[in-house]
């Protein structure tokens, strides 16, 4: 990082809190972020078995107000937002005019408005794009003074309900207003690890109080961005800027679930003709999961080759899976090679690895879903 950039680096409200707990801080998305505390593998496994506390306050927390705000947002996002009930979340994507992904996001209907959480590295561009392209009369607010914490893992509900009674009644992709350790909080049952868990939006001024109250429980440890990345990769969740970009459509990214049935029939979102065509006829390439033979991780940028050595795709994320104790990766391949169980070669720094396409998630999701009708 150039010296002139240092003054531009922003500090999280919990910067000192993280450092006091031994965090190694690294610049990411314009912020000094905690990348690890005791170690990525220990933190990863703690989150899979106990509860991990993540500070993701670098992410952009936006609200959209205005008449028919759901209809307005549907001009830029392919999700069925009109169908979304109050207090419910939907995973969606901001699309460019060609149907390429500008960012992926979570949209929540919250009474008369929508609450949208976008990626930290892309939030400034997203806001400009929303303001330029949304119909007049829609008011966008960026809640810069809100912190965002995530409590993730099989013991998350047990811990959080002691501080915010009632959160245990939320189901996956549902949120509501609660008090946590005396602080008003918007809490949703959602996350980026594949585990059951919650995302907690609080005023930055109360973030340390909330983080202290959560970590006072022996089941909770602070977890860095390093484990956040390996957890989301095991969960098969794409990371914007790596697994998703403007050259990628939702269909190429295997995110068809995020395109509402009504939206497919009616269109009316950016790139609709192309995207509906890709749903019907198949995209030219598709995101797949891969298991890699041996122990060495194959990472972003590695080439994917067919049996004859022709380049048919690229790895976009790869790591050593702490849960599975083997290298895993995701990437894009020409659709003819995307069928599960296809044996492929991977090339990294002149070395050839064997891989096989596999279903994602690599580690099963543990989301708290309620039975239909419940």
């Amino acid at each position: 990082m150039a010296e002139t950039d240092i003054s531009d680096i922003q500090h999280l409200a919990l910067d000192g809190w993280h450092r006091a707990r031994g965090a190694r801080m690294v610049p990411f998305a314009g912020y000094n972020m905690p990348v690890q505390y005791e170690g990525v593998i220990a933190e990863h496994l703690w989150t899979r078995t106990q509860a991990g506390l993540f500070d993701v306050s670098h992410m952009g927390q936006l609200t959209f107000h205005g008449t028919n705000v759901d209809v307005a947002l549907e001009t830029l996002l392919p999700g069925d937002l009109q169908l979304l009930k109050d207090g419910r979340l939907r995973y969606s994507m901001l699309l460019d005019e060609n149907g390429g992904i500008v960012d992926d996001l979570m949209a929540t209907r919250r009474g008369d408005h929508f609450y949208v959480v976008v990626n930290g590295a892309t939030k400034v561009g997203d806001i400009a794009e929303f303001e330029r392209r949304l119909p007049k009369g829609i008011i966008l607010d960026h809640w810069k003074e809100q912190a965002l914490l995530a409590l993730q893992g099989p013991r998350a509900a047990e811990v959080l309900k002691t501080l915010a009674p009632g959160v245990e009644d939320l189901s996956f992709m549902q949120g509501g207003m609660f008090d946590v350790a005396g602080a008003p909080a918007w809490i949703s049952r959602s996350g980026y690890t594949g585990e059951d868990g919650f995302e907690i939006s609080v005023a930055a001024t109360t973030a340390a109080t909330v983080a202290d109250a959560l970590t006072a429980h022996q089941a909770v440890r602070p977890i860095g961005l390093g484990a956040r990345d390996s957890l989301r990769l095991e969960a098969g969740l794409p990371l914007y800027g790596h697994d998703l970009d403007r050259q990628t459509t939702p269909v190429m990214a295997d995110l068809n679930f995020a395109i509402g049935k009504r939206r497919r029939a009616e269109g009316g979102f950016p790139g609709a003709a192309r995207i509906v065509g890709e749903i019907d006829q198949g995209p030219i390439q598709r995101r797949v999961g891969m298991l890699v033979e041996g122990r060495q991780p194959v990472r972003e940028g590695a080439l994917i080759l067919d049996a004859e050595g022709n380049e048919i795709g690229r790895i976009t994320s790869g790591t050593f899976s702490p849960s599975l104790q083997r290298p895993i990766a995701m990437g894009y391949v020409a659709t003819a090679f995307a069928a599960l169980g296809t044996a492929l070669k991977l090339e990294q720094r002149g070395k050839i690895f064997d891989g096989v396409t596999t279903a994602m998630p690599f580690v099963p999701h543990q989301y708290h879903r309620k039975p239909a009708g419940a």
């Binding site: 990348v35 690890q36 170690g39 990525v40 220990a42 390996s230 122990r295 060495q296 991780p297």
Partner: protein, 123 residues
Amino acid sequence: MSLYFTGEHEWIKVEGDTATIGISDHAQHALGDIVFAEVPEQGRALNKGDEAAVVESVKAASDVYAPVAGEVIEGNPALADDPALINRDPEGAGWFFKMTLADASELDGLMDEAAYREWVKTL
């Protein structure tokens, strides 16, 4: 026996005309959890500065360079199944490889242990 360190955080333990190479405690700490290590084959000739070994953490891959010229005597066979040995005992059982020392004068530019420990405090 003499112990030397490089600016790339490798250590070189010299006994007679044999050198044992590994990475320092500072290096293993900076890398974090090590999940893979690849050591050079016996008999491979190395020039000073050649990429001799690979070490990978969950986050990133790094090369280990030959700090001196010589021929590989053996790679540490324990690292293939237990790369975390490098985290647990970086300057002992987590050694990477042993090599012959072709030119002892190549050691002259390296740091001794006291100088290295002082230097890493400044990083």
